[in-house]
Every structure is written in C-alpha cells, then in structure tokens.
C-alpha cells in the first residue's frame, strides 16, 4: 500500500506545527545516541567554596575531543535576569573544539562571561549562559549539607537547577562557521553541538551543587542522589529569537518536517505489526501520560491544550485497549485515520511521535537527512518563466493566495529587530513605529503581492526579465522555487495576522530539540526543560533509549 505524505496545507499550519511533541527524531535524543560510546571526562574542576571558578568537561573518541569550558561567577541577586537583555549571568559556557590550553582558558575567561559582547574564535563552537533557580539550588545545597536529600516534590515541580537563556552557534560572535565542521560524521544531525553543550552544562550543575554543599558542611554533606539528578534537566527560557529562524532556513525546516512525515508514511505502510512493536508502542504511550500529568504551567492557553490532550489521550488509549485490532492489515494506518477523524491536533501529533518509537530501522536513517545546506538552493533559476512561477504559487500556496491583506486584521503585525539587543520582535503596525523597517518574514503577504504582479506580466517572460524590473519581491521569488522542490519548507499561514500565536513557531522548533513540558509565559515566550530524565554521562554506555517515558 502506498500512503501519501501528509498535505503541507495541513501539516504546515501554525496550529498544527505548534502541537508537535518530542520524538525519536528529536535532536537531544539523537545526540545521546551518537555520543553514547564516546569517552566522557571531567578534566578540570577548580571552584571555590561558593562554587565560583572554572571547570572543563569533555567527550573524546579517537582523535576528536569536544570540551565544555564552564565559568561560574558571583552574581548579585539584583543582576540576575532571564531576559535576553541581561548582561550578567551565574554561569557562562563555551564548547571548545579540542583540548583547551591554559592560554585558551585565560582568553575565554575574559570573553565568555560577556556573551554577546565578548569575542570568540574559530576554535569555539557554541556559547551559552545560565542562571540558577535560586530557590531550588539553595534548597538542594541546604539539604545536602545537612546530610539529607532534597524535597523531591519541589524538584519535580521545577525540573532543573539552572536554566539557560540562549545557546549560540554557527559563527555568532566569532564562533566557528558551520562550514569548518560540517563534514564531521558525528554532527550530521542538526544542533548536535548545542545539545552537547546543554547536556554537559547539566552535569556541571550537579557537580557544582554537590561541591558547594560539601564545602558548607564537609563532615555531614551527602551527594545528590543520581536518581534525583537523572530526573533533573536544564531549563530554558525562549523568546521570539527562534521564530525567524524557521522562516529563514526553509530547506532545513523542510528536512525536519520531511523526516517526520516520511517516518509516519512508512509506518502507516507497514502491513503486519509484530507483538513486540505493539507492546513497545503501547508501553511508551501509556508511560508517557506521566509527562502530561506532571506538566506544570500557569498559562491558560497551555492549560486548555493540556486538558484536551489528556482527555483525548485517555479516550484514545481506551479505544486501543477495547476496540482496536492491532492484528488487522496496516493497523497504524487505520489508527492514524481514526485519530484524524476524532481527536484534537495536539493529540494527533502526540501519537504520531509515539508511533515512531518501535521503528528504529525507519527513523534512524532519516535523522542523517535532517541537516541542510541552504546555500545550494540559493540561486534563482532565472531561465524559468512567469507562467511556471505562477503555477508554483497556485499549487504550493493555494490557501495563502485567498488571504485578503487589505483587511487590517490580516496585516496587523510586523516583525522587526530591536536595536537594543538585535533580537526579533513582533509589534502592531498600526500602534507602533518601525513598520518601515519590517523584516522579510511576512511571507504570505509578499507571496500574494508576487502573484498579483505575475498576473499582470507576460506568461512567456523569463524570471530574469521579470526580476529586472521587480526586484523588490526577489526574496519570495527565491522561496517559491525552493518550495517547489521542498514541500515542507514554508509555513502555510499568515505570520502577521491578528490571530498569530508566535509560540507555535517556538514550540515547533523546541519539539525538534526534544523539549518537554512547554510552559508559555505569554504568547511570545516560554520555558521548557531539556534532558529531564536523560541518563547521566556515566550511564551513557548502556542507557535505556526510552528514558523519556520512565
């Protein structure tokens, strides 16, 4: 049976993309899989009694070494801020390519804590910073120093000791350009080195808290129970910075979604499912409910989504237990069709993620295809004709062409880069200044404009001739030819309309990162937790791949 790939007009809607969940394809899971047999080491740990100082952690295999350099500094409580506009943090980190020499550490000690205002070099790969959850960190120090383990309920509720506020890579602030490292096999999946940084930072937070507790009361202090450590991750506050990324990297976006869609298609095409596969699917699905019931948020928007997800999932599990026949031909296809008919988008995408769990042979090869070289598709095929471009727009943007952008509600917002922090922002164009400096992220509106212009141009004209007098829409001409080849490269929605929920764009990206428990703090930023439940570095060699659900 040939199951078609899902229609981009359905999958690439923001509400659907904002309902995605972590899966076997997620970057933090594929990172652990790739690096599980690398040699992990804590190379340096020079902290004072308060936990301030320098530490280095590394992963090594054959001649390749990646080293995380950590700088922990004293921070006045009035200076601690998760906002991207902050200028000081409890800790700052960089992932170094190789083994850092003393001079490297000295150089980086001056630069890394400055973050965006520091200068890195081609020897550094990623850069980040993190702030303590002071309440949790102090509680853990107090408890351990008294010889007792901390309150698990509190730890479960927060989920981390530290939260990061940004992780930078790919040439930012002088870091190594991607072209320098892109051919390394171990980093074929996207964001591998960003994932490594966060994973090693997590270990640093445990070592630091143990160290401070021990210094506070050397005789009585105990170490944080590894089981508790395993259930702690790294928090992350994410704002609009991520949203333009997915618009500005169309082929990369395509490759992420395409891997997910191809997995689903291939799973739906399986005629007979083995008992082990059924058991594994059901086991992951049922155990995963714990991740939803322990999902804490104060966001009304998210509470409603969690409630409907939980209610739908319970209904769905009941249906599987009582009515569903796993032994029928193409059972996963039947299951998917049933889902589409009866459940909310959040539930559909949740189960799609679960369906991948038993099928390593289908999913793993696709992970290798999730990177992209955007530059390869940059040139516009100017020998093509106006008629051809029009046909592409009609075929690939059919719903977008129906949007009336003369209506205020469809043209309400604009994206801009803030001068203070060079960060993307969204504002109402009728209330705020700056719409004349709008970023090219209103793709739907510009595609519509392009279509209108093409409609009054000669069909036989080449794109070269069309562009010679219409270069103001060049950016969307390029995109249209990309979407022709890469069907999942474009969000099929209006990104400047009244109804836009920017956190849908953030959730899409974060779900591919492998984040759990999205906690929106507004419609423009959210908190997440990464690596919660993941094996500790010492446990990597024989870890349970399904740790997410344990």
């Amino acid at each position: 049976m040939n199951v078609p790939l899902r229609d981009p007009n359905v999958v690439m809607k923001l509400s659907r993309l904002g309902s995605f969940h972590q899966s076997k394809l997620s970057f933090l899971r594929s990172f652990l899989k790739e690096f599980k047999d690398w040699e992990y080491k804590r190379d340096l740990f020079e902290l004072n009694e308060h936990g301030y100082g320098t530490a280095v952690y590394s992963f090594k295999k054959k001649n390749r070494v990646y080293s995380l350099i950590c700088f922990a500094n004293e921070l006045d409580k009035n200076e601690r801020s998760d906002r991207v506009i902050a200028t000081k943090w409890d800790t700052a980190f960089t992932l170094f390519d190789g083994v850092p020499a003393k001079q490297d550490i000295e150089r980086l000690k001056n630069e890394v804590p400055k973050q965006e205002f520091g200068r890195l070099s081609f020897k550094e790969l990623t850069l980040s910073r993190a702030n303590k959850s002071v309440r949790v960190f102090n509680h853990v120090v107090e408890s351990l120093s008294k010889g007792v383990q901390p309150d698990r309920e509190l730890l479960d509720k927060v989920g981390y000791l530290y939260r990061t506020t940004a992780v930078y890579g790919s040439g930012k602030f002088g870091l190594a350009d991607r072209f320098r490292i892109k051919d390394r096999k171990e980093i074929y999946g996207p964001f591998r080195l960003e994932m490594m940084l966060v994973y090693l930072v997590r270990q640093f937070t445990f070592d630091q808290v143990n160290h401070v507790a021990k210094n506070k009361n050397p005789k009585k202090a105990v170490k944080l129970d590894p089981e508790i450590c395993r259930n702690l991750g790294i928090g992350n506050s994410t704002g609009l910075g991520m949203a333009p990324f997915i618009v500005n990297h169309p082929t990369l976006l395509n490759n992420w979604i395409s891997a997910r869609e191809t997995s689903l298609k291939k799973i739906r095409e399986i005629k007979n499912i083995s008992n082990e596969e059924i058991e594994l699917f059901l086991d992951c699905l049922k155990k995963s409910i714990k991740n939803i019931t322990s999902w804490n948020t104060e966001s009304e928007y998210q509470i409603v989504k969690i409630k409907s997800l939980l209610s739908d999932l319970n209904k769905f599990i009941m249906h599987l237990d009582k009515e569903f026949n796993f032994k029928q031909d193409f059972a996963f296809n039947e299951m998917y069709l049933h889902l589409e008919k009866n459940y909310c988008e959040e539930c559909i995408e949740y189960v799609v993620s679960m369906m991948m769990e038993p099928f390593d042979d289908i999913v793993t090869p696709l992970i290798q295809e999730m990177s992209s070289e955007e530059g390869k598709y940059f040139n516009i095929p100017t020998e093509r004709t106006v008629a051809e471009l029009k046909a592409i727009l009609e075929n690939k943007y059919s719903e977008i062409l129906n949007i009336d952008f003369s209506k205020k509600e469809n043209n309400l917002n604009f994206w801009f880069i803030s001068k203070n922090k060079e960060e993307p922002r969204l504002a109402n164009r009728f209330d705020e200044n700056g719409a004349d400096l709008e970023q090219p992220l209103a793709i739907a509106r510009d595609i519509k404009k392009l279509y209108d212009l093409l409609s009054i141009s000669k069909n036989s004209w080449t794109i070269a001739k069309f562009l010679s007098t219409n270069n103001e829409l060049r950016h969307v001409v390029r995109r249209a030819f990309i979407v022709e080849k890469f069907p999942y490269s474009e969000i099929q929605d209006n990104t400047i309309g009244q109804e836009i929920m920017p956190i849908d764009m953030l959730r899409l990206k974060l779900s591919f990162f492998g984040a759990l428990k999205f906690d929106p703090r507004s419609d423009k930023w959210l908190r997440i937790c990464m690596f919660q439940g993941a094996p500790l570095p010492e446990q990597l060699k024989n870890y349970d791949e399904y740790w997410v659900y344990n």
């Binding site: 100017t382 070269a464 270069n471």
Partner: protein
C-alpha cells in the same frame, strides 16, 4: 576575526539599510561572504560604497547588452551585477560583454563568479588593468591581490571561456600511455570473467 556568518548577516542588513530590496540584500550578503572567503576586500569596498552611494547618483541597468555604457554617471555595481547574474544564460551566447563606467567594480565581481558556476564555464573578467579568472565560483585567479578600495572602473570586459582543454592532444596521449603501465595484460581465461562475457549481444 569575524566569522563568515557575521559577515553575511551584517552585509545583508546594511544593504537593506542602504536601500536595496531584501532579495537583493541577500545576494550582496552572499557575495561579500564569497569575496572575504577568497581573501578579497569585500567589507572594505561595501562599506566605502555605501558611504558614498548617495552622492554618486548611480545609474541602474535592467537589461544587459553586449556593450553597456552609462549615460551621465556610473552604473551601480549591485544592480548591474544582479541583472548580469539573472540574465547570464542569454548573455552567454554574446561571448564578450563590456561595461563602461561602473562604480565599485569589486562588488560586481562576485555576481560574475556565481554566473560562472551557473553556466558551468570559466569567465575572464578585466576591470581596467586588473585581471580575474573566475573558475566556476570555486576559486578566483588574479593578478590583483591588493587589499584596497576600487572606487570605479572605466572599462569592464567580460569573456565567457569555452570548456576547452588547457593542453595539447599529444601531451594527453603521452600521459595516458604512462598511466597504462598500471594495467595488467589479460589472457583468454581472464577475459571470460569480464562483464557480459559469454553472452551474445544479438538476442
């Protein structure tokens, strides 16, 4: 040292701020990245160009011909370059193209380097007395290595080079003959193991 990614991002934003459309700004950003990667002074020339752009009152050219001469002032290197790149498939047949009076010609060069990749042919580019051989956008061979700002060019000459061998047939044959010395002479029984052996090709 600035990364190429930083060079690209800043060039794009600056080009937009200088008045070019986002799509053209993207092209300029790629080009400056390219120049800097080839160790040519992209940032230096772009910065100088944007500072002087307004007072230069440049002329734009839409459709490129065999010989192109600006009327009063100089041509804008970016608009001339972007149109040259877009129209290269038709321009290719003209073989030789000339421009008279082009401002900041080094900013024009990367468009032609990319055009060389598009048509799969080397392009020889002469900016006054500076010569450049653009090899499929993989590298640039030049007699000009100065890290300087070139504010204008009186004459730009561009020649599309046909894909021809750079050596004589005799030289090839001599080398081929030497390469044959790595082969093994086959006897009849070894020949029987070759692909298609034992079949008749007339069935």
């Amino acid at each position: 040292m600035k990364s190429l990614s930083e060079i690209e991002t800043v060039s794009k934003r600056a080009s937009r701020a200088a008045g070019y459309s986002w799509g053209v700004a993207e092209e300029v950003a790629k080009n400056i990245r390219l120049l800097e990667m080839f160790n040519l002074p992209g940032i230096k020339n772009l910065n100088s160009f944007f500072k002087k752009k307004k007072e230069l009152r440049l002329e734009n050219i839409s459709l490129i011909n065999k010989d192109n001469e600006a009327n009063k002032n100089e041509y804008c290197p970016i608009i001339a370059g972007v149109n040259c790149l877009d129209q290269i498939r038709t321009l290719e047949s003209l073989n030789e193209i000339t421009f008279k009076k082009v401002a900041y010609p080094l900013l024009f060069l990367p468009f032609i380097s990319r055009a060389s990749e598009v048509i799969g042919k080397r392009i020889f580019l002469k900016i006054d007395d500076r010569e450049f051989l653009l090899n499929f956008n993989n590298n640039i061979y030049s007699n000009h290595t100065k890290n300087e700002i070139i504010e204008s060019a009186e004459n730009i000459y561009l020649k599309v080079l046909e894909n021809r061998d750079s050596f004589e047939e005799k030289e090839w044959n001599e080398l081929y003959k030497l390469s044959e010395e790595t082969f093994v002479e086959e006897n009849e029984s070894l020949k029987q193991g070759g692909a298609g052996a034992g079949l008749t090709d007339n069935d």
